[in-house]
């Protein structure tokens, strides 16, 4: 059968962000998929190295609008790791509270968009309607619906006092009720099952080979969660389960996210209970950052986000490296999209909850008539590592 190539993008109605897919099909079956990113690259790492540590927290918040507290948490962990800063107990609970609220909002957002992608707009409207109270909670806590600006080195920027907690728990009760309704509806829905079950299967071995993280890996039976594996903040003080399913299809990815919403809600309740009684400071003031390097890890809604910071003793980082979860998850397309019909490929592409804004730390601009030329990324990476080693250890 003839092989045909279908170009999709960079602006297409499926995803919000710009990205380019080159899908090779035989008849209606997808045989290969290539993608070109870089449309969202803003040079975060470079700008961060021009700013002070406190400013770079503000900056990393704007890496991605959806996980806009996961990046700051990983970033402050990296800075705190340089100096081994102690974080006050109350600040740890507030960090966890905000982060878990964000997880609920992100998963609901994805659930709605997934409904939209399979042409099931009712689910989209529902999920986004019940996401609004979460944004309202953010507005109560931080004053903004997105981009909360809560993280500081050594603690948090704002306190969540008892009056606010009362208001928050009232809203959370309503959200929980609606979540159960959505979970039951999604579970009983024949439309969702027939569109999603057995579609875009990512096998356990493939998930391991591609180093998938987050719900993408957990739906394929890989038990990986930074919150449990290397607990930071208040995660070792609260009780929650890591949701792991084994089929690896889009339906399981949906169910993992739905169940994680309930786990997050459980964590938030425990944090609120502690915040009512655990009084104390919220910020451990840090005067200066000594020379050294540190890493920060945090489980964002999409998986593990990793930040690396190097300081030379001044008030600015001399190196800031970011690795977002979608960087690992996006290549799993190659395993999960091959051999499925084109109509199913679109929801499979969306199923890993890709965030290109998070991922794009490098860019390749090619305006030539021949189109994009392949570059050996492995060679580039090795050359760069060699260069860094020379600067650190001397020639």
């Amino acid at each position: 059968m003839n092989k045909n190539q279908i170009p999709v993008g960079p602006f297409h109605p499926l995803l919000e962000e710009a990205e380019y897919f080159n899908i090779t099909v035989e008849g209606e079956t997808v045989t290969d998929i290539e993608m070109d990113i870089g449309w969202m690259h803003r040079g975060h790492e470079f700008i961060s190295e021009q700013k002070t540590f406190t400013q770079s927290i503000f900056l990393v918040e704007r890496i991605c609008g959806i996980c806009s507290t996961s990046h700051p948490i990983a970033c402050v962990h990296a800075i705190e790791d340089i100096d081994n800063v102690e974080i006050p107990l109350r600040a740890r609970y507030i960090r966890t509270l905000v982060a878990e609220l964000e997880r609920i909002h992100s998963h609901l957002l994805w659930l709605g968009l997934a409904g939209h992608f399979i042409g099931y707009d009712t689910l989209w409207m529902w999920a986004w309607k019940y996401r609004e109270p979460i944004l309202q909670m953010f507005e109560i806590i931080s004053g903004n619906r997105n981009h909360y600006g809560m993280m500081r080195v050594g603690g948090v920027a704002r306190d969540v006092d008892v009056d606010k907690i009362a208001a928050l728990s009232k809203i959370l009760d309503q959200v929980d009720e609606k979540m159960e309704m959505i979970a039951k509806a999604a579970n009983d829905d024949p439309v969702l099952k027939s569109r999603l079950q057995g579609v875009g299967i990512l096998k356990h071995q493939d998930a391991v080979n591609f180093c998938a993280v987050g719900p993408t890996a957990r739906a394929s039976g890989v038990k990986i969660d930074v919150r449990k594996d290397e607990p930071t903040d208040a995660y070792d003080l609260v009780d929650f389960k890591v949701i792991v399913l084994k089929n690896g299809d889009v339906y399981d990815k949906t169910v993992v996210r739905l169940l994680e919403i309930f786990e997050s809600s459980k964590i938030i309740r425990q944090c609120m209970k502690k915040l009512r009684t655990a009084n104390g400071p919220i910020l451990n003031s840090v005067k200066e950052i000594p020379p050294g390097e540190g890493i920060g890890r945090y489980e964002a809604p999409r998986g593990e986000v990793f930040h690396y910071m190097r300081s030379d003793g001044s008030n600015r980082p001399i190196r800031h490296k970011v690795r977002a979860p979608s960087f690992n998850n996006i290549p799993t397309y190659i395993a999960s999209c091959k051999g499925i019909p084109l109509a199913d490929a679109l929801i499979t592409l969306a199923a890993v909850d890709p965030c290109y804004c998070c991922t794009e730390r490098a860019i390749r601009i090619n305006h030539s008539a021949e189109g994009a030329q392949p570059i050996d990324l492995l060679r580039l990476s090795r050359e760069k590592t060699e260069r860094i080693r020379r600067t650190i250890h001397g020639a």
Binding site: E16, M40, R42, I47, G112, I365
Partner: protein, 139 residues
């Protein structure tokens, strides 16, 4: 074009384009279409093709790679089309103004008619912006 614009203002169809934003304004645009704000009650609808659109919503700082594509999409649009820039990024560059990858002058890429600043702007602010646009179109 006064009579044409008046007809346009009755039901604005928008096309959304992201020119390297942080995704947040884009989500807030989608948020406007969902039940709490529900812009469809005012006749505003998100369409999948630039050929159907009356208004182009654009976000982000326009990086070097995406800028030629934005220009091309604007050229493909049937005129008159109004460009609404959402967020602080198209207005001032936000915290990315020092980026090596941002275009020097965003006005050269697209003729922006209306700025709605904010990081991200509140949905209420976006509705007000659109209302102002309708007012201008009605003359």
């Amino acid at each position: 074009m006064g009579w044409y614009n008046k007809r346009l203002a009755k039901s604005i169809w928008v096309f959304h384009m992201s020119g390297s934003p942080c995704n947040n304004c884009d989500i807030e645009i989608l948020d406007l279409l969902t039940p709490r704000y529900d812009l469809e009650r005012l006749g505003i609808k998100l369409v999948g093709s630039i050929r159907h659109a009356d208004v182009l919503l654009v976000t982000g700082i326009f990086n070097q790679k995406v800028a030629p594509k934005l220009k091309r999409i604007y050229e493909q649009a049937p005129k008159p089309i109004f460009v609404v820039a959402i967020g602080t990024c198209p207005a001032s560059g936000c915290c990315f103004k020092d980026s090596y990858n941002a275009v020097a002058k965003r006005e050269d890429i697209l003729p922006i008619d209306l700025y709605i600043p904010g990081c991200p702007p509140k949905p209420e602010a976006m509705i007000e912006g659109v209302a102002k646009l309708v007012e201008v179109l009605n003359g």
